[in-house]
Structures are given as structure tokens and as C-alpha cells.
Symmetry: C2
Subunit: 371 residues, 2 copies
């Protein structure tokens, strides 16, 4: 796998990169920069976390005579403002950025304290894993992911370029937004879906055992992210409360409207309320950006696959022979059955050839979107 | 692929199987029974739909002298009670079942009309596709899926056995439930997730374009089923209003609680309310039955895959050589990047061998759940 990376940070940097917070994000940035021979120093309030990160090669231990040109604050949301303030004070020549998933709250807090924020540029890489800590870090965590960079009127172009170079160096795509735009965006695309998935899944926690026997792929997809860690999410939701609350209140009101309409099916407008909810949902899901950041649409074919080793290998090997690129893939297992359905997305122009070629080779095509 | 199917219906049936409604479900049942050489007659209010179903081989046209022993009513929810009543009257010797996705509503309606329901047994195959109609029908639609059969005090064992034989004949797994149990179960596992996904996606329809740039896999999964057809869902939700309304009201109240807690973060219990929502969500999602109907847990490894034809084939081919069975699979594409991450679920005992074997063969393992 080759990616056209150059060490952008090194070209713009005098001194080292200092990373404060050696958890998943901090250590992963360290690994990615070390892979480009950039000098990285690490600091963490937890001596054991710091030791782990250093042992795994994310950087070296910070010393008093370090001269960082760029400081990355990668600490939990509830201490991010404190750490940014301290780093700006201790290193008066360094550009300071952070990677917290909420941007306006620390910015406002620092302004309230009267901190000069000329050298601070908030940022947020849209990357993560279900497990945290230095031990889960990996150099490729950010590859291909958006990395939001928040400039303001005070930002110096050279400083902005340095933070964007950091994003590029670790393989991410810098994306400029204001803190307000960023926070509104993650409220609707990340924080509210988390709350909704959690509350829906919480209803399953109360359901009797028998009720869950009919659960299928739909409810599994809808609740998948409900497996997230409570500690982190209490902080994230708390730090971005305002835009989240706005959407949650609107949603609660929508839920009540649908509920009222179902309770009084013969009231004027009731059927329309329910139909509009589903129809507007159709429109919303169509607006989500697809693969490669575009709204490209793919066709799907569904292939029956025996649940034994090598079957998927044979399938994808033969798709490769047919020169069909698999754009997306979903495996569905029938509960109780020893086989699965592989739903394969391909470019529209490739659909017919994929179906014909697979059928020739003996595969059973259970259906396709051009039926 | 071999499944131990015998023609259960044929052994128990005198006469033919009559299917009323030649849409996706009715025609698919027809195809599956025809594949077992069972005589199937079809009826549909739409002459063009009926002609299509017959042309595609789902059965033959109904005649006045048909002597059906089993009648399957596969019509839209809003006419299902009418059709059941008519079929019971016209064919006084036949067992009548239906495949509507709500069970109590037609049953109550028929009782209100004073219809003798001794020969009626409601049922519901948990199967479907995103596209409907005779043209989308397929013989394997029901394979491995649960097929709920609703007996009551009046049900004769031989009639119950006939409906369960139908389910087995088309490859489904019969599951006995009362209509109330069934409707409560689909309310929580299917109907409420649909409403929630639709309303969440509807919020995306209102969002400004820029906000959607940060959308990732989480919101895509949470809203996937929002792509469903409004016409059908208005009927389904209307027919199962009572248990749905109960869960929707509870959810709306939960949403308000979280919203209030975020609005007043320093009020007593606020942090706890938010943390409990996420934690109970963790519990709920853990209760969903996994593959093969069990709560078996798998380990995951994440492999980086170039976005070119043949790469997935090579990966799965090599997993086959390593004798590793892929239990589940999720492909994630980084927006804007020309490669993807394949998250592969394997039995815990197979994890180490899979990682070592793939790394030996040059694959980059981006992470695994045993890190």
C-alpha cells in the first residue's frame, strides 16, 4: 500500500513535536510521526501510560530542555482547557493544538480566563477505536480520515499550515471549519446518533428475553454504536451540550408527534404525520456522503455463501478474476443457518458482468438491485 | 449448498396450496413450494402482478374448481382481515394462514366481526427485501429466517402442523408465539427502531450541507433502515400502534431526561442520568442474539485492504488456506482514501493464528480486539 506522504511537519518545524496525553490518539500520532523520523516527546499524567507509550515506540520521554515547535494536547475533554493554558504558558514559542472531539467549549473557557489564543489552533481528527489507551495505538489510525482544523481571525497562516501539515503527515485530510460549525456537525452526525442508539438499546435491556428472538439486522445496525464507553461519552456530550440539546429536543418532539398520530389514527393529519416521518427519513439517509466522500450510488448483488473456511476467499478471488471491484460488503447470517448472504456493492456498470460471471462459476445469486 | 428439506406440506396436504397476493412474499412462497413440486395456485387483485408472478413460475392461475387445503394470505396489512374472512368463507375445508407483519390487529378485527377462526392460524415470516413485487421474489427468501406461528386455544394440532410444515418447506424455522407476544416483540425489535432511524435521518434532511461532511460509519449504521418504503410502514405502524406507542413514549421521555441533564449539568443526578443512558445502552446491545441464534462472542481483527479488484479475494483466500472461518465481516472505507479496513470476526481460538498467518503473508493488521 503506497501513499504519497512527505514529512510536511518536519519541513515547517524548528524543534520537536510534544504530545501531551499518551492515550489512543496521542500515542497514535506519536507512532505516525516517528515513522517519518520526526522527533516526538511524550508527556502524560499517568506514569504507567507514559511508560507503555514509550516502550511501544510512540516517542521519547519529555525533558526540561525540550524546545517543541508544535504541541499536541490529547487529554480527556474535561481537562483539555487546563492543559492548553499550561502548555501555552510554559512554551511561549510553540504552536498548540488539541484533538478533543468538541471545539467551542475549550475555546470559550480559555477566552473567559483571558488566555491569549493567538498560538492555539483547535483541531479534531475523526478517528478512534472501540478500545483506548497507548496499548491500542496505531500509526495508521488517521489514514484517510477527515481532520478538522479550526482557524479564527487571530490565526497566523504559518501556524495553520503547521497544524494542517501534522494532519497530512499522519495521513488525514485537513478540513477547515469554525468551532461552531464543527460542534454543530458532530452533534448531528455523531453525538445525537450516539444518544439515540444508546436509548434505543437501553429499551432492549428492559425487554423480556422472548421479545429479542425476532431481532434482525435492522435493530443490530441501529444500536451498534450503543456499545461505546460511558466515561468518555459523558464528557463529550457534556462539552457539546448546546447543539446536542437542540437536536434532542426536536427529536423528542418528533417522537411525540408520531406517537400521538399512532394513538389517534383517525385524527386529521395522523396518517400524513407517520408517512412524512418515514419519507423525510428517506431523504435524510440519501444525503449521507458515500464512499470516497461522494454520493456515488452502487448496485448490490446478494450471493449465498456456505459458512465454511475458504468460501469467501473463493468468492472474492473469482470476483477479482472477473475484474469486479467490491465497493462495499455486508455479510448477513441467518440465525440458526450454516450459511450466510454476502451483499456486495459494485459500480452499476459492473453489475451484469458480476452476476453472469458468478453464476457461470456456480454461485447462487439470491438477488440484485436491478431485478 | 445442501439443506435437509422434505416436502412437509405435500405429506400433510390434500389438494393444492392457494396463495392470495402475488407480491414479494406470496410469490417467493410460490417459488419455494414449486421447487418442491407442490401444486400452487395464485390470485391477486392486480392482473399485471398476477401475470408477472405466473410468468416467473411462482404458480398457476387460480380456477373455480381448485380445492386448496392450505391458503396463504399475503396481501397488504390494511386488507388482510377482509381477505382472510373471504377465504375462510369460500373454502370451508381449507386451513388459512397469513404472513402479515402484525398479528393481533387482524385477529381482533375478525373476532369483532364474529368470524369463526378455528381454521385460521396467523403467521409471520421474518424476511423481506428492500424492493417488493413479484419481480423481486426469490425461492430462498425465507431460508434460515424465523417464521412465527400464532396458535390459540381453538387451533387443531393438524392445522398447526400444516402451517409449520409450510415454514419448514420454504426453509424457515417455525417459532410459536401468541399474537400479543409477537406484536410486542416486533414493536421493540423492528417497528420502534424503524421510527427512530427514520426520525434521526429526517434530522439529517434538515441539516446544512457542511454538517454532513463529518458523517462516519456510526450515523450510517444508525440510519440505514430509514431507506424503507413509506406506504408499507404507515400500514405496519398503524396496525401495531399500541405496543409501539408504549415504547415511543418511554423513549421520548428518556430523550427529554438526557436533554434536561445536558441543559443543567450541575443539577443533582445530571451526570448520572447521561452515564446511565450510555451504560444501559451497553447492556441492551449485549442482549441481541448474535449469529446462529446464540450469544457467541467473536474476536475481531482489522486488516488494511487496497481498494483494487482481487485484494479481498487474496485476503479471504489466504484466510481459507490458514483454515480460519470468517464469522462476520464489515468493510469500512475511509472517505477520500483508496483503500478500506476489513473488520473480520473469528472464533477466539482462531485469532492468533489469523493474525500471525496474515502478517507472514504481508498483510497489515491495523488492530485486533485482543490488543
Amino acid at each position: 500500500m503506497s501513499h504519497p506522504h512527505r514529512a510536511h511537519v518536519a519541513a515547517r518545524l524548528s524543534g520537536t513535536v510534544r504530545i501531551v496525553g499518551a492515550g489512543l490518539l496521542g500515542s497514535s500520532i506519536g507512532h505516525a510521526l516517528r515513522a517519518k523520523d520526526i522527533d516526538v516527546v511524550l508527556a502524560d499524567a499517568s506514569p504507567s501510560q507514559l511508560r507503555l507509550a514509550i516502550d511501544y515506540g510512540a516517542g521519547r520521554r519529555a525533558r526540561d530542555d525540550d524546545r517543541p515547535g508544535l504541541i499536541v494536547v490529547a487529554v480527556p475533554p474535561d481537562v483539555v482547557a487546563d492543559v492548553i493554558e499550561a502548555e501555552l504558558a510554559v512554551y511561549p514559542d510553540a504552536v498548540v493544538t488539541d484533538v478533543a472531539s468538541v471545539k467551542l467549549d475549550p475555546f470559550d473557557e480559555l477566552r473567559r480566563r483571558g488566555v491569549d489564543l493567538t498560538r492555539y489552533i483547535g483541531s479534531h481528527p475523526l478517528a478512534g477505536r472501540e478500545r483506548g489507551g497507548a496499548i491500542s495505538a496505531r500509526a495508521d489510525l488517521f489514514i484517510g480520515r477527515p481532520w478538522v482544523v479550526c482557524r479564527d481571525g487571530e490565526t497566523r497562516p504559518a501556524d495553520l499550515a503547521l497544524v494542517e501539515a501534522l494532519a497530512l503527515d499522519v495521513g488525514a485530510m485537513p478540513l477547515e471549519m469554525t468551532p461552531e460549525e464543527h460542534d454543530r456537525s458532530v452533534a448531528i452526525t455523531s453525538h445525537v446518533p450516539q444518544v439515540v442508539a444508546s436509548l434505543l438499546a437501553a429499551r432492549l435491556a428492559d425487554a423480556d428475553e422472548g421479545s429479542l428472538r425476532l431481532a434482525g439486522q435492522g435493530v443490530r445496525d441501529t444500536t451498534r454504536i450503543a456499545a461505546s464507553a460511558p466515561e468518555l461519552w459523558v464528557q463529550i456530550l457534556g462539552a457539546n451540550a448546546e447543539p446536542i440539546v437542540e437536536v434532542l429536543d426536536a427529536l423528542a418532539s418528533d417522537l411525540r408527534d408520531v406517537s400521538d398520530a399512532l394513538r389517534e389514527p383517525n385524527a386529521p393529519g395522523s396518517r400524513r404525520t407517520v408517512a412524512d416521518a418515514i419519507r423525510q427519513g428517506n431523504e435524510g439517509v440519501e444525503r449521507l456522503p458515500g464512499k470516497h466522500g461522494q454520493n456515488r450510488r452502487f448496485e448490490q448483488l446478494v450471493v449465498m455463501v456456505d459458512d465454511t473456511p475458504g468460501q469467501l476467499g473463493r468468492l472474492f478471488g473469482e470476483l477479482g478474476e472477473l475484474n469486479v471491484n467490491v465497493e462495499d460488503l455486508r455479510l448477513e447470517h441467518s440465525p440458526g443457518a450454516q450459511f450466510g448472504l454476502a451483499e456486495i456493492s459494485v459500480a452499476p456498470a459492473a453489475l451484469r458482468g458480476a452476476i453472469d460471471g458468478l453464476e457461470e462459476r456456480g454461485w447462487q445469486i439470491a438477488g440484485n438491485t436491478n431485478d
